[in-house]
């Protein structure tokens, strides 16, 4: 049960990291705020909005905080000498990596689910209280499908942040690289070339909306997972072979 002990230790470190709590709450609040704004903005259209349309506006904004959230399990280790202490307690780096990755997922998945639920609540409430179009009445199955897709996307983007931080090892540079790639390079390349579909965020975005001539939600997720495994694999080799 060494893995369990290390996993619980990693969770404990995240639980006591103030920026992790702030980012967790910030992602939920930011998502809800944008969802409320979209549901009350009368420019979108006069008819009530389907939930996936609200998500199409909310998720790209919230993803920035999920990138940070995913980076924190690794970023905090390289601030100061915490990694040395961690490796002293857990000399087996492979075990540490598995436990840390599991702890990162434990942080990202509930945050993603909570953000999507908060988006729905905020959009529905804002629509009721304002003169805006509000939310369209949809079946529970549709709402759950759309919400689950958006939550999965946010978790994948957080995982992309995690593996990038694992490779680069410093929080600010990793943040600049991923945010620049996802928020700037990806949309611009998408406007210029159809091959942008193979970028990790573009491929994973099929989970919550939009269509593509080549990829489906499932194959898009596989492409994103492939990127995560590739970057994570290089980062893992670096962790296993380098000094602290």
């Amino acid at each position: 049960m060494l893995l369990r002990a290390v996993f619980l230790a990693e969770l404990g470190k995240l639980r006591t990291l103030p920026i992790a709590t702030a980012t967790f709450i910030g992602a939920i609040v930011a998502g809800a705020a944008v969802a409320a704004a979209v549901a009350t903005a009368t420019w979108t259209r006069q008819a009530p909005l389907p939930f996936d349309e609200v998500l199409r506006w909310t998720v790209p904004t919230a993803q920035a905080l999920f990138v940070l959230l995913g980076m924190l399990p690794i970023g905090q280790e390289h601030a100061g000498h915490q990694l040395r202490t961690t490796l002293l307690a857990v000399p087996k780096r492979g075990l540490l990596l598995v436990a840390k990755s599991a702890a990162a997922l434990m942080l990202l998945l509930p945050a993603a689910a909570a953000t999507v639920v908060a988006c729905w609540l905020a959009a529905a409430t804002a629509g009721l209280l304002s003169d805006g179009p509000g939310l369209e009445r949809q079946s529970v199955a549709t709402l759950v499908t759309d919400g689950a897709g958006a939550a999965a996307y946010l978790a994948l983007i957080g995982a992309l942040g995690y593996v990038t931080a694992l490779l680069i090892r410093r929080l600010l540079p990793a943040l600049a690289v991923v945010l620049g790639a996802v928020l700037l390079v990806s949309p611009v390349v998408a406007g210029l070339s159809e091959h942008a579909r193979w970028l990790p965020d573009r491929a994973a975005a099929l989970l919550y909306g939009g269509g593509d001539a080549v990829l489906t939600a499932g194959s898009g997720t596989a492409v994103a997972a492939g990127w995560i495994l590739l970057i994570g694999g290089i980062g893992a080799v670096r962790l296993l072979r380098s000094d602290a």
Partner: protein, 263 residues
């Protein structure tokens, strides 16, 4: 003035040895060139295939200028790291201190430190613009050449380049001022990169209230001219003045906060 000049020289040396500064310059220059090459290549292919109407514009200048938003992110990175590097803790083996303590020991006058850093931020951004703009225009002209149809005069193109450079400089200074107040680079980096992406919060707010057009990034967007004109926003000159006022106000706030608190 002698102390300010000495501080500027010191900050320039620090910036030259800071990897983050070079990352910001690389984003601006290399990113803009790469994007222009992609854009211009596709335009030339459309022209050669007899389908120029499939592209929004065939002008070499417009294809180069489409990469300008990336320069704003480079300027933000430069502005953030110029100050956030001061608050990054050293290795505990080296005492675990922060560079800001050494900086203020060498230059006790805090307004001098702030002014020197602001001058260096502008200098680095201007240097990036001096490299990026001609490079992107050269790449677009080489790829499209005379096949494209120019839609603006040389004077208009020059004015738009100056406007873009001014926007980048003020964005870098705003990022710098926010980082001084917050003493860290994570929040300004996230907020400002998100704001300069396609999911700009001020742009979303502008659909709810026209007051959002008075926010600095939206007010200054008219400086890019052309297709960057924002419906309902301020014109170029009033927008530039509003953005400059925001920049000055944030720098003053940063100076007051920096002056009054511990390092």
């Amino acid at each position: 003035m002698t102390m300010l000049w000495a501080a500027v020289r010191a900050e320039l040396r620090k910036a030259a040895t800071l990897p983050g500064s070079w990352a910001g310059i690389a984003v601006t220059v290399l990113g803009s060139v790469a994007l222009t090459a992609l854009n211009a290549g596709m335009t030339r292919a459309a022209i050669d295939a007899g389908q120029p109407e499939s592209r929004a514009f065939t002008s070499a200048f417009e294809n180069a200028f489409a990469a300008m938003p990336l320069g704003t992110v480079g300027a933000v990175i430069v502005g953030v790291v110029m100050m956030s590097s001061e608050y990054a803790a050293n290795s505990p083996d080296a005492g675990g201190g922060r560079q800001i303590a050494s900086t203020l020991t060498a230059t006790p006058r805090r307004w001098t430190v702030l002014a020197a850093k602001a001058i260096v931020v502008v200098a680095v951004v201007l240097g990036s613009a001096a490299l990026a703009l001609p490079a992107t225009l050269g790449v677009a002209a080489a790829l499209i050449g005379a096949a494209g149809a120019e839609t603006s005069t040389v004077a208009e193109q020059f004015a738009r380049c100056l406007g873009a450079t001014l926007y980048w400089s003020m964005s870098g200074l705003i990022a710098f001022a926010i980082t001084v107040v917050l003493r860290g680079g994570i929040v300004p980096l996230i907020v400002l990169i998100v704001n300069n992406s396609l999911v700009s919060i001020p742009l979303l707010l502008s659909t709810i209230t026209p007051l959002a057009f008075w926010l600095p990034d939206l007010a200054g967007r008219q400086l890019f001219g052309g297709d960057y004109l924002v419906e309902g926003g301020l014109d170029a000159l009033p927008g530039a003045l509003v953005m400059a006022a925001w920049t000055a106000a944030l720098l003053v706030v940063a100076g007051v906060v920096f002056r009054r608190r511990d390092a």
